[in-house]
């Protein structure tokens, strides 16, 4: 009873302390938002391609034969049908100039003797020059040209086989060359029409499960974690050793103060996160009922509690504040990374997949995603509840041990 009263006392004290640090509070509130906003903005800029600015690639035809001209026209025309890439035929000098002016991302050329080498079965290398100030675009262009080269290589092997067999017939050389050209066009066209091969279908189980909603919720999750960490850290005790000794004489234990800090940071950051979540739901127009809200709230509180216990545990273990702070940041980063908020857990290495169901952050984020995005209408708190009991016990014993040792 006595200790609960002390915890309550420290809770209110810490709240007062927070109120005094108004500027810090504002900074704490804004900093994660700005950082995550920046990151999400950047990621979205990458993933969602700008419609009116496709990747521009220059194609330099140095061979200038019938075939190479045909290939460049074909490439230009097929590319024009797509929104992601635009191929411009250009001379070598022009391509260099465009690159300098940052107009194009990459240029590639059909080298001299391109056609002859193809017919004869000599190895051909297509040189690509990337624009160093646009690494991503260059990378994508390289991938596209690579797959194109793979297709042409496959087609080329077949043309060569046909050539070999044609040599066995009584065809004249001119006739054979004529036929080869026809085959060349035929195979190129055939290769470019490869999309017919696949019937594609996109499954949408719920309109709310769009990638944007996914990323927004992930962003919220990260911001919440950062808030929890930063509030806990800001409430650090700054008083001297003599003050601590006096406190001890009054019968105040470290545990009571840790509990106070934990409660205040849990309360304040959950309040902020709750408001942000509410705004988020309204903006994204997701239907969310009171019951869902309750479930979601319980999951977030359990997650927050476990995370805070972990943070407090690190501090209890380590004597130096610098290292503790560093490890706490690393811990939170690791937890967020493992939760799948940065990279969906689906894409983790297979050896990791077996451990994932036993980690608390993927469980918590998984349930939150299910509730918000998939509209799931049941919830199971058992595992998270067990985890929170365990971490609480660990924290409690370690803090009381520390107390005994320091005495």
């Amino acid at each position: 009873m006595q200790s609960i009263r002390k915890i309550l006392f420290f809770t209110t004290e810490y709240l007062k302390q927070l109120k005094k640090k108004r500027a810090t509070l504002l900074l704490l509130f804004l900093f994660p938002l700005i950082l995550i906003g920046l990151l999400v903005g950047l990621a979205a800029g990458l993933i969602i391609p700008e419609e009116n600015s496709p990747i521009r690639v220059a194609l330099v035809d140095e061979d200038r034969t019938k075939e190479s001209k045909l290939i460049s026209t074909l490439l230009t025309e097929t590319a024009n049908g797509q929104s992601t890439i635009e191929i411009l035929p250009a001379s070598k000098e022009e391509a260099g100039r465009l690159m300098k002016e940052n107009e194009i991302s990459t240029s590639f050329s059909l080298p001299k003797n391109f056609t002859d080498d193809l017919y004869e079965g000599e190895t051909v290398t297509i040189p690509m020059i990337g624009n160093p100030s646009r690494p991503i675009d260059s990378f994508i262009a390289k991938q596209l040209v690579d797959s194109l080269a793979r297709y042409i290589a496959a087609a080329q092997a077949n043309i060569l086989v046909i050539n070999d067999y044609a040599k066995g017939t009584s065809m004249t050389r001119e006739e054979r060359m004529e036929m080869m050209f026809e085959q060349f066009i035929d195979f190129t066209l055939y290769t470019l029409g490869k999309d017919q091969l696949m019937d594609e279908e996109v499954l949408k189980n719920a309109a709310t499960s769009s990638p944007i909603n996914y990323f927004v919720l992930s962003g919220w999750f990260i911001v919440y974690s950062v808030w929890l960490l930063s509030f806990y850290i800001v409430l650090a005790d700054v008083e001297s050793k003599s003050m601590a000794a006096r406190m001890r004489l009054f019968g105040v234990t470290v545990g009571q103060r840790v509990a106070g800090r934990l409660l205040v940071s849990l309360f304040v950051s959950s309040l902020l996160a709750g408001i942000t979540f509410f705004i988020m739901i309204k903006v994204l127009q997701i239907e969310f009922y009171v019951l869902d809200m309750m479930r979601f709230g319980i999951f977030s509180l359990l997650y927050a509690f476990i995370l805070l216990c972990g943070i407090a545990f690190i501090e209890a273990l380590l004597p130096t504040k610098k290292i503790a702070l560093f490890l706490q940041c690393t811990f939170v980063f690791g937890i967020v990374l493992l939760s799948g908020a940065l990279i969906p857990t689906l894409y983790f290495p297979q050896s990791f997949q077996d451990i994932l169901p036993y980690l608390f952050s993927p469980i918590a984020l998984g349930w939150m995603m299910d509730l918000v995005l998939e509209g799931r209408n049941y919830a199971n708190y058992t595992s998270l509840a067990i985890y929170s009991c365990i971490v609480f016990l660990i924290l409690w014993t370690s803090v009381s041990w520390k107390e005994r040792w320091s005495r």
Binding site: T191, M198, A236
Partner: protein
Amino acid sequence: MNLLTALYFRLKKEWKSVFCWLIAPILLTVFVMKTFGALQEESEVPIGLIIEDSSALAQNLAYEIEKNDMLFVRYMELDDALHKLKQHELDSVFVIREGYGESVLANRRNGLIEAYSSNRSFAYPAISETIMSLAQQDISRSKAAMVIRLLFHEYGLENEWDYDEIIQKSVEKQKNESLLHTSFSYGEQAGQPDERPLELLNSRAVWAFFTIIAAFFLFDWMIKESRPSMQVRWLYTSTSFKSHAVRMLGLYSYLTILSDVLTLFVFHFVLQDPVTWSFILPMFTFRVTLNLFAFLLAIAYRQLFMYYMTGVAAALLLTVTGGAVVPLDALSRKWGWVEVISPVRSLMTTTIPVAWILLLFIVLASWFVRGGKRIA
């Protein structure tokens, strides 16, 4: 003489922690790069594969798909696979349709493979392209066989036509004479071709992140020594606190630059990130900028802890705006000023953050010249 003793006492008391934070960024960078590299190699995309056709061609295609390092193939029933796809347990699902073998032999290729993806299948475009190219190979070979049959028909050699032999020849040709390559380089100045045009995690950026944090942790002496209780003591010494502080700044800069030299060696030999001469000056200026930044910020702070927090925050912000986490293509096209703002960006593009250095030196000079008042 007593000045040097002050420096000496400081280091004697704190050399362990100083040494730790000088070395830590290097060790952490190596650790992060190595583990991340290993994880990246290991990561696979799970897909569902359903084979409805029992022909050898279909089996072979499935085998080829399974051989791909990027994919983790799970064979299952369609219903099950689609359910898993909806649960986001699979990235995408592919069905090799019944009659695949026959259609390939008959040179028909429309809709041989069915592909299902969800709106969260982030790897789908790459995977579908891979699978399509594998199937296209089969069909293209079969087309060649058809062409040769027509040819032989024309010249009365029909009896010599052998489907399997042609396919075999085509496979060999493609394998033996790797016929078409691409080479990639960034402009002519790079010299050697760069086979890795994109790295998700840049070792320099990781190093920059840890170095910023470490720099703040190193420069905490500034706060410790400018405590009010310490300030009183400076009144009785022959030198002012400021000149002492500037000397300390010099000493710490010297130490950090020593650690930077070590970093360059580690980059070169452990991380296989070739260090060129053009990288040394940007790295040096980055270090000077960072030290000045940490030093000047320390003047404005009274509490150690808030100073550390600022260090972590600054590290995060500067590396993100530096394009370390997500390359800044899209951003720098719209807002060119971001590059000017972040010194990390200068480090990445091996330029010199002139604006930063000038500004910081001006602030340092004005702090030094102005009388006893604190700045900010």
